[in-house]
């Protein structure tokens, strides 16, 4: 079986093959591991990778998988199909959205403004921190969706570029 996960905007390919009482795993066509003693419970996955035992806490929520390994946290996303992917890319290119829920404190641009890559298009405050949302490219402000003083949700688009 082949699986694909996104982690920090990179896609990783995992190939899992059953061989007698273990799995042979190949990651990104390079690293190889022998996996044995696999147990999967609702919040714990344990296995030996090349004879080293791992206990991994996990929680699956929609297409995300939250994992904790020896204090390190990983959030893996199941690779989406092509349509979704290109849509995401498009959004990224033309839209500025808030990475987290918060208060929209400032929109220093107006429709029609010419902006450069990196120009601050909006400031969102969450947890006492002000976060400046930069323009992803040079362009012209086409649409402003949020209003100063409003709450915004995570991933809510605030400004669109032409």
């Amino acid at each position: 079986m082949n699986y694909k996960f996104n982690f920090l905007e990179k896609t990783h390919k995992i190939n899992l093959e059953k061989a007698d009482d273990l799995f042979k795993v190949i990651i990104n066509d390079k690293q190889k591991y022998n996996i044995s003693d696999v147990e999967v419970e609702s919040n714990l996955i344990s296995f030996k990778a090349d004879d080293k035992l791992y206990n991994i806490y996990c929680f699956s929520d929609k297409d995300k998988m939250y994992l904790s390994i020896d204090g390190e946290n990983y959030v893996l996303e199941l690779e989406k199909d092509k349509t979704t992917k290109s849509k995401t890319k498009q959004q990224k290119g033309n839209s500025v959205f808030s990475p987290m829920p918060g208060l929209l404190v400032k929109i220093p641009v107006s429709v029609g403004d010419k902006v450069k890559s990196g120009t601050t298009l909006a400031i969102v405050e969450a947890m006492k921190m002000q976060n400046e949302l930069p323009s992803p490219r040079d362009g012209i402000v086409k649409k402003i969706i949020g209003k100063e003083g409003e709450q915004v949700d995570a991933l809510q688009v605030i400004v669109e570029l032409e």
Binding site: M1, E41, I56, F59, L67, S68, P101, K128
Partner: protein, 500 residues
């Protein structure tokens, strides 16, 4: 003694304070904003009062609403915790006027320690070393230039009413001076509503070392030794320890006595912290007074055995401090790490959301002051602190190992957090050596992000979990994982190896 105290705060510190109250037989009133109704701190209170909408200005900073809540519930005193109104002299004054005891120094002392230039001058008179710099507020560029030449470059521009790094600018030569003053003034104005800035000698490789002091209404004053808080990110402490690896006993006793002098001179009561900078030549300078119980107070409690919140309450109730200075000992070593809802992989952007799974460490030498539970929502409106992990062990080396293991056992799934990042700092060689200053994070930035090392294992876990779901039947797995089934629900143990 008080019968009832209102706790004007939320999260872990509200719980910490409520526990101290209950141990003294005092009942507690909790307050909450709209979004905080399901928050953990309310479960520790004897009564609760809604004080306003979710934004802090409407609720936890709403002096009127908090005073009304206190009156309505007949609370005799208010504990402000840290942050919010903890060092707000207007609030202290409003409590005084309403006949409610503010658990902290009185408004006069707060006003004195709140103004940095004024407290520099007070402290200077006592003979406590201060960082060379300007003794008065001015806008005159000439005076700035003169002062900078006097103390020697590099210098630092600071906001007079400031804190948390806002309005600060380091200046390396006279050419940069004017621009930096203007920038500092703009930032100070927007952050504190006051554009006053002043100038000090910039201390290179400074360590941040603070002393905990208690003082009662009868003039009895003791210090409880130091806390080293040099591990900071964007001027926010994230790891604290005591004893400091930088001090020997002579310096420790000397600085402790100086700290007491500062507190006494301000006629300051209850618990306060005197912050110092220590330069690379082990010269120390007075920095400022923190007029509140501090986030990092537990490490002092772990090594001295003195309950600081309890002492605060007792002093506010008019009791005398019964502990004598020579009874206070430092026993062993303690470290605290602050657990934040933030994403170290994405510029530490705050990460509010729902905690889907939680397992906190416990066992020998481990203390968790927590404000969260499995299933709770972390709102975006407040400080991202979730909890504090504190450990004690016989010595610094064993404490480092203990907190490193405890961080591994601290599982928070569903929101991004800084646990792995803290662990990487704790496990770094320079931290182990005790060889660090306030620039540690900046200087080690690259080393602190070697996060990929267990990515392969994470990917394998992800694939196995999918595989298990697949062999079990895709729909079952979907249900199991996306319907958010119980952690205790047995989806069966999928013995994958026995499937072909």
């Amino acid at each position: 003694m008080f019968k009832k105290i209102l706790i004007a705060n939320r999260g872990e510190i509200a719980i910490r304070i409520s526990k101290a109250c209950k141990e003294l037989g005092i009942s507690t009133v909790g307050v909450y904003s709209t979004i905080d109704k399901p928050s953990l701190h309310l479960r520790y209170m004897d009564d609760i009062v809604w004080i306003g909408d979710s934004p802090p200005l409407s609720s936890y900073l709403n002096i009127q609403a908090i005073l009304e809540a206190a009156k309505k519930t007949k609370a005799e005193a208010i504990h402000p915790g840290y942050g919010f109104l903890a060092e707000n002299e207007k609030f202290a004054k409003a409590c005084e006027d309403a006949g409610i005891i503010f658990i902290g120094p009185d408004s006069k002392a707060l006003s004195l320690v709140g103004d940095k230039v004024a407290s520099r001058n007070t402290v200077k008179k006592l003979g406590v070393p201060i960082i060379p710099g300007m003794a008065m507020i001015t806008k005159d560029l000439k005076k700035f230039k003169h002062a900078a030449k006097d103390v020697g470059y590099p210098v630092i521009i600071k906001a007079s009413m400031g804190g948390g790094g806002k309005g600060m600018r380091v200046v390396y030569n006279e050419n940069e001076l004017e621009k930096s003053i203007a920038a500092g003034q703009r930032e100070a104005l927007s952050a504190f509503g006051d554009e006053s800035v002043y100038l000090e000698k910039y201390i290179e490789q400074p360590r941040h070392i603070e002393f905990q002091v208690l003082r009662d209404n009868f003039g009895n004053c003791i210090h409880l030794f130091e806390r080293e808080c040099s591990i900071q990110r964007r001027h926010q402490k994230i790891i604290e320890e005591t004893p400091s690896p930088a001090l020997d006993n002579n310096m420790r006793m000397k600085m402790g006595e100086e700290a007491k002098k500062v507190i006494e001179a301000s006629d300051y009561t209850t618990a306060g912290t005197v912050e110092f900078l220590l330069d690379k030549n082990k010269k120390f300078y007075f920095l400022e007074v923190n007029a509140r119980i501090q986030v990092e107070h537990p490490i002092t409690e772990m090594v001295t055995g003195v309950d600081l919140v309890r002492q605060q309450i007792l002093i506010a109730a008019g009791e005398k401090i019964t502990l004598k200075q020579d009874q206070i000992k430092q026993n062993g070593h303690a470290i605290e790490t602050r657990i934040y809802a933030e994403d170290p992989d994405n510029n530490f952007v705050p990460s509010p959301g729902k905690i889907l799974f939680l397992s906190e460490p416990n066992g020998p030498g481990i203390r968790v002051d927590s404000g969260i539970y499995q299933g709770c929502d972390i709102p975006p409106h407040y400080d991202p602190i979730l909890s504090k992990l504190i450990v004690w062990s016989e010595n610094r080396n064993m404490s480092i190992i203990r907190i490193s293991e405890a961080l591994k056992e601290y599982i928070i799934l569903g929101i991004k957090n800084n646990i792995g990042y803290l662990k990487r700092i704790i496990n770094s060689k320079d931290f182990a050596k005790g060889n660090y200053d306030t620039h540690f994070i900046d200087e080690h930035e690259e080393k602190l992000f070697p996060k990929q090392e267990k990515l392969d294992i994470a990917l394998i876990a992800g694939a196995l979990s999918k595989q298990a779901g697949y062999t079990k039947s895709e729909s079952d797995f979907q249900k199991a994982s996306t319907m958010k089934s119980t952690p205790w629900q047995e989806l069966g143990k999928w013995e994958i190896c026995s499937l072909s």
